[in-house]
Amino acid sequence: MARITMREAISQALWEEMERDPNIFIMGEEVGVWGGTYAVTKGFYDHFGGKRVRDTPIAEAAIVGAAVGAAMKGLKPVAEIMTINFAFVAFEQIVNEMPKFHYMFGGQFNVPVVVRTVSGGGRQLGATHSQTPDAIFAHFPGLVVVAPGTPADAKGMLKSALRTKNPVLFIEHATLYQTRGEVPEGDYVVPLGKSTVQRPGSDVTIVTYSKMLEISLKAADQLAKEGIEAEIVDLRSLRPLDMGPVIESFKKTNRAVIVEEGWPSYGVGAEVSARIYEQAFDYVDAPIKRVAQAEVPLPYNRTLEQMAIPKVDDVIKAVKEVL
């Protein structure tokens, strides 16, 4: 097994699937000649050509809308939206077209579009470019919304996304591209809609995903030095939300902290905690805590921005509060 970066893992999945399925093509801003703004598709244009790696105008609604049309006719488009902040300009296409056409037309059309995009703050890009609005998109039935936190999951889940008939919003994280991890070579597939335990423990359950998995793992290492063993459940998919491993873990630990990068109001933590209360109320030994972003538009100033985003210490503090 090779130890590669998240960027390499995503790139590998795309490359291998494009070699396998001639109906897969990529379209988006700077995906071709430039090689991708995050360099994920570097080398693709030269290898696959302009037909399959298509540079688009800066026009997100048209990028996703055209991907929807091409998918209805049987192709498998990968529409790259440079950052999830730009997905709002294609909100109509992502929430009103991708998840609805199959149902609304009585099953006549499939819309197997994969929208790849990038979420997360922490890079001093200011309020409009730093958001983590993943939960908003997970609100819509008919859409599959995933956000892997490890290179192996990124590769395996992107492969699944490229093979499903369902529309998928595949959310990467801006500050995880250099993260390294063991990734199986070749045809490695991870199912969509399955959460998993990333670290076993018995004292508290930390539920998290994407970048916050990294933060939570660091917090767990520090807590372990104090004799506190946290079990970490990585959601990986926000819709469908697989509560199985969360509930199983909670029944063992009876305490939970949910860590997400986005704002807490109406967020992932709100949803997960409600489901724990609904499904495992008798096992609750302490109020469930949420660690999330400060409820402000993210500021540019580095210190202020870092104050707003959840950090290792915030997770440790929350864990101690529920113990």
Binding site: V64, M72, H102, Q108, G193
Partner: protein, 321 residues
């Protein structure tokens, strides 16, 4: 035009007219819910356009879609049943009036968000280019849709990529209740094509022969690789925007003036003049159309409601893990 085709197109227009009149009654009787946008007055547009396409040319439109749905070959029964929300509707009763479609007939909907289907149309055309089909895409929209951002994004992209699309703007003079000159910077839709370096034409939409001739010529140029073009079709809806429109924005005299230009009447008169059919033969088509619509209404009314379990089917195209 062959006599048989002339009679068929005439009958199609009459079926649409009768279907819309019956829909209005069923709506008022509370049997059709939601919104209902009638196509009365505009029948020659969709009938002429669709008659000019090849069977595998894509058609996509906005929410005033009953007419074109019938023209592409969906039965009046499946349309009526959809309007009544029945299990036998073309979209199984899940889509309603604004969401008719038939994948087998290369009819990709029925779209209810103004202009949002324009980029989708570009995608349909892109798929044909990708798969090396020489089919083209006919994307119909109202005049109001040319003012929304999706129009710019979709039309620009299609031109940049030289996609085989015929953009058809059905200019019926009003976007809901707002007249074209109160909403659009230019009053002629063809002027908008200039900004994208596209060839454009204007056609009289009350005359089916004219629509068919102009559309047919443009479709062949597009199929030949000439890139997208825009066709503005001047037409008029005789009824309100939707049921329940108080029509405060236009005078009855204006409506009456246009009604004298009835597309069915014009097509009938021209056909007789050209010796394509006799009065008797056309009356016979009227009767056939009447019968077809009555049978469709009966089919829809006696069809079953969707089963309760249909609520949860087809949310996803394949089961989630």
């Amino acid at each position: 035009m062959e006599k048989s085709e002339y009679l068929d197109l005439y009958r199609q227009m009459v079926v649409i007219r009768r279907m819309e009149e019956r829909s209005a009654e069923l709506y008022q009787a509370g049997k059709i819910g939601g919104f209902l946008h009638l196509y009365i007055g505009q029948e020659a547009v969709s009938t002429g356009l669709v008659s000019a396409r090849r069977a595998d040319d894509n058609v996509i439109t906005a929410y005033r879609d009953h007419g074109v749905a019938y023209n592409v070959g969906i039965s009046a029964g499946a349309i009526m049943a959809e309007l009544l929300g029945k299990a036998t509707g073309i979209s199984k009763g899940k889509g309603g009036s604004m969401h008719l479609a038939d994948a087998e007939k290369f009819f990709w909907g029925g779209h209810a968000i103004v202009g949002a289907h324009i980029p989708v149309a570009a995608g349909l055309a892109l798929a044909d280019v990708y798969m090396e089909n020489d089919a083209i895409t006919i994307c119909m929209m109202g005049d109001g849709a040319t003012n929304i951002g999706f129009f710019h994004e979709g039309v620009n992209m299609a031109k940049v990529w030289n996609l085989p699309v015929l953009w058809v703007v059905e200019n019926n003079q009003y976007g809901m209740g707002t007249a074209v000159d109160r909403a659009s910077a230019v009053s002629e839709m063809t002027q908008k094509a200039a900004g994208y370096g596209m060839k454009a034409e204007r056609a009289d939409g009350m005359d089916l022969f004219n629509v068919r001739e102009v559309a047919g010529r443009m479709i062949e140029e597009i199929r030949g690789g000439g890139g997208p073009q825009l066709l503005e079709i001047l037409t008029y809806r005789f009824r309100g925007h939707s049921m329940g429109d108080p029509e405060r924005y236009r005078k009855q005299e204006e409506v009456h003036k246009w009604q004298e230009e009835d597309p069915i009447g014009i097509f009938r008169k021209k056909g007789i003049e050209q010796g394509l059919a006799s009065e008797e033969e056309l009356n016979e088509q009227d009767d056939l159309a009447e019968k077809e619509v009555e049978e469709a209404v009966h089919f829809a009314e006696t069809s079953p409601e969707p089963a309760p379990e249909e609520l949860y089917t087809e949310v996803y195209a394949e089961p989630l893990e």
